[in-house]
């Protein structure tokens, strides 16, 4: 793999990871959606770099498709939901922003630790970037577990999915296009369903704080 390719790959992975961490930092929901769109761009760039290196037109096409979905369609859906909700900020996350950033650092360390066996299997520049993808998976889980607004929850879920996609391309050269299309459609459908649920929640409870649902258990 030539130097330029490695540099570009590392740049894309760096951007992918950085946008993930910044999502934890910002509390305006509109900015979070923008950062998520940027992460989609970084993911598409990452796949495109891999495709250009392998000279595979298929991978380039997948990169274009993923870019369109994750940097275009999903963010626009999220913006529409945001405009309808009238909620502007992530108020009172369960873990505050400073502590979240420290936790992100710890999670990144953890990701590097648990990815070592994977890297040892095939030490290429692509697999060496796998910990970044693993970190984004962890960050997605962290957002799910600590943010209150329904929109943040959707973003957390999509972060996990971005991380899994990146992991698949970095370690295994991607899945077959059929599987990739299926997964992408699933994600789209999940977001649509979550959007409907968010609307219903607001209609029923006047807000989308998930802890309002606490009384619904048995």
């Amino acid at each position: 793999m030539s130097d330029v390719h490695v540099q570009l790959l590392d740049l894309a992975c760096g951007a992918f990871l950085l946008t993930g961490v910044l999502i934890l930092w910002r509390s305006e929901l509109a900015k979070i959606v923008t950062l998520f769109a940027l992460q989609g761009v970084a993911l598409a760039a990452l796949i495109a770099v891999l495709g250009a290196h392998e000279g595979s037109a298929e991978l380039l096409a997948v990169a274009a498709g993923i870019g369109a979905l994750r940097a275009g369609v999903l963010p626009s859906l999220l913006r529409r939901a945001l405009a309808a909700s009238g909620e502007r900020r992530e108020t009172k996350p369960i873990v505050n922003v400073a502590a979240s950033l420290v936790a992100a650092a710890v999670l990144a360390l953890l990701a590097y630790a648990v990815c070592q066996p994977v890297i040892r299997l095939a030490p290429t520049p692509a697999t060496q970037a796998a910990p970044a993808a693993m970190t984004v998976i962890f960050l997605g889980f962290f957002v799910l577990a600590t943010r209150r607004r329904a929109l943040s929850q959707v973003v957390g879920f999509l972060l996990i999915d971005n991380g899994i996609t990146a992991m698949a391309f970095l370690t295994a050269g991607g899945l077959s296009p059929v599987v990739e299309i299926g997964v992408s459609l699933d994600v789209l459908l999940a977001v649509l369903v979550l959007q409907v649920l968010t609307t219903r929640m607001r209609a029923a409870f006047g807000g989308t704080d998930l802890d309002e649902l606490r009384e619904l258990r048995d």
Binding site: Q116, F141, L144, D211
Partner: protein, 662 residues
């Protein structure tokens, strides 16, 4: 090739269909008739297998991975024959009894019977476990058949479900470990395998616990006196006379046949559990006042007696006394047959009482002799058989068992010198108490005058129920008068089961012990004595002129039904004797008149004999499980974030563990 067995199974399936499809008023008649045919066919198939015409099948495609392996050998044939006989009697009985039963229950009875027939024919671990579970599930659903009518049924169902599945887990663990150590799961491979001692001990103890829970052995018996009474009576008969036998079958099959004996202490454990169960069961039966519950406790007692025989057989085998082992095992298996015969009869008769009066409470019965003469007669026959007195059939098998225990004394070593006399004492005490128990059941339940309106309105059962009871009664009489008809077959089975195998069990003891009593002569002598006594009394009475006079009633006017002995009062002296063991609870509550503490307004008296083992062993365990369950509710407080956090933590911890160990 013995085609009787698959024929019996096919008839069971047909009976199940006939219980499902035809119009409601014909169902019980059609299904009952066909199921009775299935039972008779299975009886014939079992007898054929006992005499050497075995049957086997290998169906590799029926179950994924393992396939189904069936083989009906002599031991399995004995249990299949017993189940077939019980099924035939219960099926004829059910034509009248289950006429208005829910359809689900009617469909399940033939399936339950088929599972019971198949369990002794299973010849691989996976097949056995599958059929065992099928049997457990079918019986559980049948226990729950009347859950709409009585809330007690549900609690009985929960007890049964929990204990039968704990038993299944123990059997599953034991047999899986056995199969893993043996390197194959068919019974033939297990038999050939040479497993190390620690594994063998683990397998034996685990399977013994599991099978003992099915046989209602103390301390795993608590489900039995709950579940058997709550099931419909023909199902009670199937459970109490056929299903509990499967526990004995499992112990004999795994302990003696597959594991090939083992050290002496295994069998001392079995013997001790049996003796404890026999005593505990009959003591609880002696103080019980619910007729079917009494019969359930009596089942625990009889299974305990069988285990005494099985334990003695294993003990003698391990000591090298092959002939004595054969005698003890033959006595145990004969007692299985005898118990099945009289317990079927008694449960069917109890069902007839329930059908005729609507109550099972012995304290509220009485006076059924005029109103239900046939039921009273067959119950009397069953009670005679169950109380181990000549000329009943239980007397024969218990006599053989005592013979085997006593004959070991001269040269048995220290442990035999200590254990066998204790076992003899346990058997003897059990026999005495069971006589008192069944005198109570017959005397307070059927004789004297009715003590309640329900008993007053009692009516005799329809002919099909009477025919079912008559069939069971005929089996009891045949077994009582002609045990030599079945003993050779049973002796053949013991010869094939005992680890030495072959014809080495020369049967000298068996012949000697069997010839030491002649049931026909005993019965004839009893009949002649009774007739002579009657004749003498009649002759004496004829010498003086007869005169009519009022009975002496202490001058208090005519005696009422409230002055009779009830079941509780009849058992009271026994309860006093065994006060320290039974620990009965009584509670007197005196309410005074408001104006004066010296005047009593009302006195309330409550007495109960709780099961001490249940009280001491199960109550703390249930309380602990309950506390844990309540505490664990704190983990789930309804917060979505917390649930996601659990998932996140589990994910991260799994990855860390993988990274550290990988």
């Amino acid at each position: 090739m013995n085609l009787l067995f698959p024929g019996a199974l096919a008839l069971c399936a047909l009976a199940s269909l006939l219980a499902a499809l035809p119009p409601a008023r014909m169902r019980s008649a059609l299904a009952g008739t066909v199921l009775a045919g299935a039972g008779a066919t299975a009886l014939a198939a079992g007898v054929a297998a006992m005499t050497g015409r075995t049957w086997s099948a290998w169906l590799p495609d029926l179950l994924p991975l393992a396939g189904v392996r069936l083989e009906l050998d002599a031991l399995g044939g004995l249990f299949t024959a017993v189940t077939g006989g019980v099924t035939a009697a219960a099926a004829i009985y059910s034509i009248g009894y289950a006429r208005h039963a829910p359809r689900t229950a009617q469909i399940l009875v033939p399936l339950f019977a088929a599972a019971l027939l198949l369990v002794p024919a299973a010849a691989s671990v996976s097949t056995f476990l599958l059929l065992w579970e099928l049997m457990a599930i079918a019986s559980l659903l049948l226990v729950l058949a009347d859950h709409r009518a009585r809330p007690a049924v549900r609690s009985a169902g929960v007890w049964y479900a929990v204990l039968t599945h704990l038993g299944l887990v123990a059997i599953l663990g034991g047999l899986a470990a056995f199969a893993a150590a043996a390197g194959g799961e068919s019974f033939a491979e297990l038999r050939r395998a040479d497993v190390n001692e620690a594994t063998a001990i683990g397998v034996f103890l685990a399977t013994f616990a599991g099978f003992a829970s099915k046989a209602g052995i103390v301390p795993l018996h608590v489900w039995l006196p709950r579940a058997h009474p709550e099931a419909p009576s023909h199902v009670s008969a199937l459970m109490s006379a056929a299903m509990v036998n499967m526990g004995i079958y499992g112990i004999v099959r795994v302990g003696l046949d597959l594991l090939g004996g083992g050290p002496r202490w295994w069998w001392l454990v079995v013997l001790a559990a049996g003796a404890l169960s026999a005593l505990h069961g009959i003591l609880q039966a002696a103080v019980a006042s619910d007729l079917k519950r009494l019969l359930g406790h009596s089942t625990t007692e009889n299974m305990g007696l069988v285990l005494i025989g099985v334990g003695a057989a294993g003990f003698f085998e391990a000591s090298g006394e092959r002939a004595l082992a054969a005698l003890a095992l033959a006595a145990a298996l004969l007692h299985v047959i005898n118990h099945s015969a009289f317990k079927t009869l008694l449960f069917l008769a109890a069902g007839s009482v329930l059908h005729g009066t609507g109550t099972r409470d012995l304290d509220a019965l009485g006076g059924l002799r005029e109103r239900m003469p046939v039921t009273t007669a067959v119950f009397a026959l069953g009670a005679l058989c169950a109380s181990a007195l000549p000329p009943g059939n239980a007397f024969v098998s218990e006599w053989l068992m005592l013979q085997s225990l006593i004959r070991s004394l001269p040269d048995g070593g220290v442990s035999a010198a200590v254990v066998m006399p204790l076992a003899v004492a346990a058997v003897a005490l059990t026999a005495g108490l069971s006589a008192a128990t069944f005198v109570k059941a017959l005397g307070t339940g059927f004789l004297a005058r009715p003590r309640s309106a329900e008993a007053e309105r009692a009516h005799e059962a329809p002919p099909s129920m009477l025919a079912g009871m008559a069939l069971a009664g005929a089996a009891c009489a045949a077994l009582a008068l002609g045990p030599t008809l079945v003993l050779p077959g049973v002796a053949d089975v013991t010869g094939q089961v005992l680890p030495g195998r072959g014809p080495a069990t020369d049967g000298a003891y068996l012949r000697a012990a069997a010839s030491s009593l002649s049931p026909v002569l005993i019965a004839a002598a009893l009949a002649v004595t009774a007739a002579a006594l009657l004749a003498v009394l009649r002759a004496l009475a004829m010498r003086r002129a007869r005169r009519a006079a009022r009975l002496w009633d202490c001058g208090a006017g005519p005696m009422t039904a409230r002055m009779e002995y009830t079941a509780t009062s009849f058992a009271e002296p026994l309860q006093r004797v065994f006060d320290d063991v039974l620990a009965p609870e009584s509670d007197v509550e005196v309410t005074h008149v408001k104006e004066s503490a010296y005047l009593v307004d009302r006195v309330r008296f409550q007495a109960a004999v709780p099961d001490r083992i249940e009280h001491r062993l199960y109550a703390p365990a249930i309380a602990l499980a309950d506390r844990l369950g309540r505490a664990s509710r704190g983990l789930a407080n309804g917060s979505v974030h917390r649930y996601v956090g659990y998932g996140f933590a589990a994910f991260a911890v799994t990855l860390i563990v993988l990274a550290v160990t990988g």
